[in-house]
Symmetry: D2
Subunit: 363 residues, 4 copies
């Protein structure tokens, strides 16, 4: 279903070519100042056409709150919101009428629903994420005001170009990297178009994306996100561990293939005696951990340390390079999709990851 | 909460030292032959003390069906089941009364609930997984009978020892590895104690575990799981993509830190033109994919190819080596937990992963 | 929360004075012909100002489908829909700024949310029901096309004026009444303004409503609904019995105070030997019941007989007669709300009851 | 499904002839004193065989807590509990092997599941209510300790014998009746076997039940329940109004056919000017209502006044009198079920209604 969350709950609707895309946010606490302009910045960070690195479509994506807010303050009732679609006509004939795009949702949607939206993927359209970004931005605003929670995501790799996380390959996370996690701001992330807060790496990433673009090809990458000043005690002991809900949320973003929290996959290579986070008395007199390989979660429950995690995004499936594949009919052929396509989604994915993180914390 | 699933739903209860641990399985289809002995094998694979590699506690873990089955056949009503705990007394004085174990749930449980079970972690006990394994085994039985679904998990790494997945570090998954995924059986997995179906690697893994054990230390690893002959069309387009539900399920298993599906994190390094799974007409006349980097899921929906994924398990937090840490009071000290501990959980995690996979497919 | 249903799920938003009211319908099967005009008739039956009996506000209430439908056919994806509010400005000063209306939601909303929409009741506005009627109409359309289900509601009492259900007060339901239930159509119901399919009674009901109106007062009543040709096997044995879900749905309609199914409250007065529905072989060779005091449900599960039930609606709380009451401040005073008010809601409640019935069956 | 509640959630299992019946209660707050003996009194009030008025089976129904409690205090983790069944063998041949009992669940269960428990009704067995009563008793205990909530139910009618609620038939609820609601205790209710706190009426009720019993027949009735000192603000504005959840809960009890809150069905006959609950400043300085026709709920949200409602129970379907009916095969015949049956369930239903009320308030 198209609903996420229990106490703070978002339900989204909309495809590429319908009248509008939007969402209903239920469970937003009453009495919070809120208007369209509070939501718009993340909508704008999400939309394509922001730099030479992305698809040239420039969608305005102006969000319109429909309900749940009066005199600039939330009522505690459901917040309806929508963004009008520019192009509401089902599209004209294209090559994808005959070909399911390789590694795209075209074929599985047809298998599941027995019907095909003219745009092919229907709800798999990146426009679906508009509703979540709007909802997540409202959640984040509440978390910031009520608890001072800070959520910042950034691009940590593009292709084989990785932001450095440890001094040597045999080490766990370096001091420098952990300091980055504990201080990085959204403004710093936006200093370059690729949204990687390590200038040297950012330059290489841009080159890699431009290379993909020049070949009518695409490239994948990873996004890392940190949640600071999270309330303690979030997450349930068994099936709804905080990391399980974060993984669920992140793998619901289109094109994702992996999730890791704290020391993640690499951490499995280290002995318990090295990996365990020893306890210490913190300057504020409270118990805390000396290191934070756990990523802010122990036994499925937040412990007050920074929560950080990484998400893998595969290279976009839609490329204009020719691909030898088969038609819906099974007949072999060569597909070359027209138009320009986004060669790398990770810079645009940053606000989506932040939004989903906020939704999990509010849940 | 302690409930997983919507249409096939499991709810579990139980800690280490209470009367019993168990589960209620609701939504099991009527008319399926079922008795205790159908569930027991996976319970036995899960329990500790199976080999020199694990903790020497030998719990019988005999499952007792309470309801929902009459004359050996399911009624369609809830199946209650339980396993009695051998030792029902809260434990005697130990060092962990004063120390929260580093990287364990002791501290976060106390933060969340304001009360501490004598066993420390309460529901974070590995005994909690008994209920899920029982439920997953029933789910798997139905899936096998109704659709021929096959679910097999195995250990793919222990520490830095990895089962080989590609010919070179710069390649994606090799033919040999994909063939392993498409043919491996649970019997083959159980041929060695470490449950790695690659003998040479298995030997190295055993050495690594024995090394950890000899140092009163622990080591992490990964488990890979494949679901073959899954129905097509599983998963929802947006928030409940099949990979999102799998990630949720897998990261609800204790000690997990990561999840990846298909080509996963490594796949992000490859261009779309290389990574995309081209369509072909399969021998049965149906459309399928030539490669399977997507891991059986496209646009969040199963496409009928093998679904495979990998889960990261950190090194167990409880070690008997001395650890410099702090007491609940904040006072610094040295903790050396008594008793023998499981140096590596991945072999025992294999049936738990299989059970959770079955629960997701049935959901 | 503002969500109803599991597999077919509606979420609504909107207050009296916001930009629009609307809903997202998730889980609508793909491939069903659908457009705005299929939904409009029930929207029109619901809106005020249809006859001299109701409030004179004439809201156009034109529904606009936003998504989930392409080329006149459902896609299986969420259907967003909305109806614009005519008057989007928060209202001017009125007496209800100082007085919580007796027996209205004004006071409890303030208790719960600590904030007051200018319109007082916020979500308790009758405009909230627009979203449900739209959703229910889509559900009903599917049920009709897939199973031939027929849902018809009508007004069965206004004040002390009751449509006759039995020959004497000591009898259970009469043959005539059961025949009415099994044959009544929506067209017949709409033959008079009060929507009671018993002309003589309808005339008396109209008189009673006109009396209330002339005194600036209001009057309550009941609505009876029948669901014919329902699939068998609906409802769950324990907490989600079909009658429990129907009761839940019906008591979620504003101003409702009671629900009874089959022989209801009166049926409790009869002995089991009289009340039990004996089984017989029906003309189609299937087992059925001779009488139907159960109202189509036994053990919480539909048995294929007509499902019929009755809902109590209290007299509307908002009246323009003077009422001795207290202000928010606690100070005693006299409230006379300005404007004209609906003296009796039951005729307008008919399509709302039908919509909720359809939502329960689709759930 | 067999689950009720969101934040405080109960899941039940068990049929008549399985090993045990039981429940898992999830979401019980930590730190509450609790042991078997706190639950037992309501279990004992629920069980049959308590007086000459009920079935002579005397089941011990000793509840055994399995988990979630340590050293007599709740841990915040799931509470598993069970009651062993005395007779675990599927029953011997009886006449109900061939006949679906009229107005019982036998036939609809077979329609839904395609399989028949030997006991016929399976989950429709009154033994299923054991789990809910246990869960509700725990919920009630918490509500009492945390908020001082008092929940008392009693029998308000048997057949045509009604506890008087108004002075004349044309009046609404009398002062005497409202005083009864505001003061009645569980001890007073238990002063007679029929659980009606109006001695004269109670005597007539007993006669009516004994009459039914002597004829091998059965009789229905109603139970009224009052919740005093409920927290304000419970219930959601739209689909989950407090009265909707109460109706859902009450109609999930076996044999129920109706629910009304506050002035209920009769209240619909009165004009708004008479029926509205005017506001007054209460002695404690807070705003309250002068009358309470709303039954403690306005706009779906509790307002702090007494919440009271009535539930209709039909006459039990299983009677030993001969009934002309049909076999599963469709063949006409005469069914006379052997054994002794409960001629009237309402006295035993009292603790079940109380339990479900507590579950709704805790939800």
């Amino acid at each position: 279903m198209s609903t996420f969350g229990t106490l703070f709950r978002v339900t989204t609707y909309g495809e590429s070519h319908c009248a509008s895309v939007g969402a209903i946010i239920d469970g937003c606490p009453p009495g919070m100042p809120l208007s369209d302009v509070d939501i718009q910045p993340q909508m704008t960070r999400r939309r394509p056409g922001q730099s030479a690195l992305t698809t040239p479509r420039n969608e305005a994506d102006a969000v319109q709150i429909q309900s749940g807010v009066e005199a600039g303050v939330t009522l505690g009732t459901p917040i309806g919101l929508l963004v009008k679609n520019k192009d509401q006509r089902p599209h004209d004939y294209t090559e994808t009428d005959h070909y399911p795009r390789p590694s795209h949702a075209d074929w599985t949607y047809l298998l599941k629903y027995g019907i095909k939206a003219s745009s092919g993927g229907g709800r798999s359209s990146a426009r679906e994420t508009i509703g979540r970004v709007a909802a997540g931005t409202i959640a984040e605003r509440y978390l910031k005001m009520a608890y001072g929670v800070e959520i910042v995501a950034f691009v940590s790799s593009v292709g084989k170009v990785h932001l450095p996380e440890s001094s040597t390959d045999d080490d766990l996370l370096s001091e420098d990297y952990l300091k980055l996690l504990s201080t990085i701001t959204r403004e710093q992330v936006d200093e370059n178009a690729v949204r990687c807060p390590h200038e040297e790496t950012a330059d290489l990433m841009q080159e890699r994306i431009i290379e993909a673009k020049s070949k009518a090809d695409s490239i994948g990458g990873t996004v890392t996100c940190v949640i600071r000043r999270s309330p303690v005690g979030l997450g349930e002991p068994v099936f709804d561990k905080l990391e399980a809900k974060l993984a669920h949320a992140m793998l619901s973003i289109p094109a994702t293939k992996g999730f890791e929290i704290g020391s993640g996959f690499k951490g499995t290579e280290f002995a318990g005696s090295v990996h365990n986070d020893a306890f210490i008395k913190k300057p504020d007199g409270k118990l805390g951990t000396k290191t934070n390989r756990s990523g802010g979660v122990q036994g499925g429950i937040s412990n007050g340390e920074d929560i950080y995690f990484k998400i893998a995004f595969k290279s976009p499936a839609t490329i204009s390079q020719e691909q030898a594949t088969a038609k819906y009919s099974g007949e072999a052929g060569v597909l070359a999709t027209r138009g320009r396509h986004d060669p790398c989604v990770v810079p645009r994915a940053v606000p989506i990851v932040e939004a989903m993180a906020a939704l999990v914390i509010m849940e």
